[in-house]
Amino acid sequence: MYFPDDHLESVFRIREIPIVGKIVRGDGTSDVYVQIEYVTKSDGTKNPTRAQLLELKQEFKNINLNLHLLLVNKLGGQFEELLRATLFLAFPDQLRNVFCSIQGKAASVWVEPKQALTPTSKSAVETAARKFCESQEIDLVGFASIGDAEIPGKFAILSTLKIIAPADLTQLTSALTGKGFTVPSEDWLARKLDAIRKAHGVLFTADKRYALTGSTLKALGTSKNGKRSLDVRRLLALWKTSG
């Protein structure tokens, strides 16, 4: 049975949930896309409520339609626009774009710089973004600048070491750089590894090479996911060095 758009619209109208634009049907026969205004009120409650939205989906399911709700948030859009304008003004000619995600009172911000930001300018942009969020009583919980240097974390260091161990600082640095990480210096990496060594995560051998301890190997786990598996890559690396 075919339900015309005005019938579908009435399902929303009865519940007093306003639709933005027109109802869109997908290429498939059962997909229906509807944009609705979604607001977080000052007391934190959402309008329409989650229960209302789930009920709507169910109602569509009952008539064999797969409802996709597209939540349009004019306030969220305004927040992003203001944040973008603020950062463009504070850092003229440095930023190409600014995006954010707001979930409740928490914001994550992405900036796309025209050229990779230096650590100093990156933290200046982050501070400015944080100040703006604070002014709107929102917490900045995440910040990313596209294309800037990325330092390897503990897991990345250990999993890279796993493939090539035993390895010295130079070998490990070049393996990490090969993955796209920025290693500030061999000293920096040595300090990181030393902290891990003190926590019994790695061994430092007499010939100044590093290897994982049994407990770290266990913690990293194993995977048999073909050539992507760390264990398989380790075997391949061993084969290359012995060959």
Partner: protein, 167 residues
């Protein structure tokens, strides 16, 4: 990148045209190109994570992002928390939010793309000489789709590099 330029070209061309019917077809096509540019940014990340995800249809990608990918990074974040890996925790948190945002973006822009390509009874509406929209979605919003998708995909790449979720 290329498709995004085509979108911008079509957008500029829409403003130049004086004939209403021409404005409509150029305007619709600009929405279409911006959608595809965004879609391809997302697909790039998915293919790297799992080659078979390259075969996913437009309607399925948001689900994979929200379910599989977000869940994997949530697990990776727990793992990173256990070993106190600050970079890993930060990257995974950002990727979890990015996966959700990218899913929302693709779904919303897809719906607009369907209107652009198939619902010709819904016309391009000019608010003034510098603004037009389709099904109440302003072109300035659509223009951002590709770089928005690129930003979110970037966070997925970074988290993958830190956490090896898919390798």
């Amino acid at each position: 990148m290329a498709l995004e330029f085509v979108g911008q070209y079509l957008q500029a061309e829409t403003f130049k045209r004086t004939d209403i019917a021409e404005r409509d077809v150029f305007g619709r096509s600009s929405f279409n190109r911006y959608y595809y540019a965004a879609f391809l940014e997302a697909r790039k990340a998915l293919i790297i994570f799992k080659p078979e995800w390259g075969e996913l249809g437009h309607a399925n990608i948001p689900d994979v992002l929200r379910n599989t990918i977000a869940t994997q990074f949530r697990n990776a974040k727990l793992k990173a928390t256990k070993i106190d890996d600050k970079e890993g925790i930060r990257a995974c948190s950002m990727a979890i939010t990015a996966a959700k945002e990218l899913a929302d973006l693709l779904q919303t822009s897809y719906a607009t793309r369907v209107v652009a390509d198939y619902r010709i009874e819904t016309p391009i509406v000019f608010q003034n000489s510098a603004k037009y929209s389709l099904n109440e979605v302003p072109i300035e919003v659509a223009r951002q789709w590709p770089s928005r998708a690129r930003s979110f995909a970037h966070s997925l790449f970074l988290a993958e590099r830190q956490a090896h979720v898919f390798s």
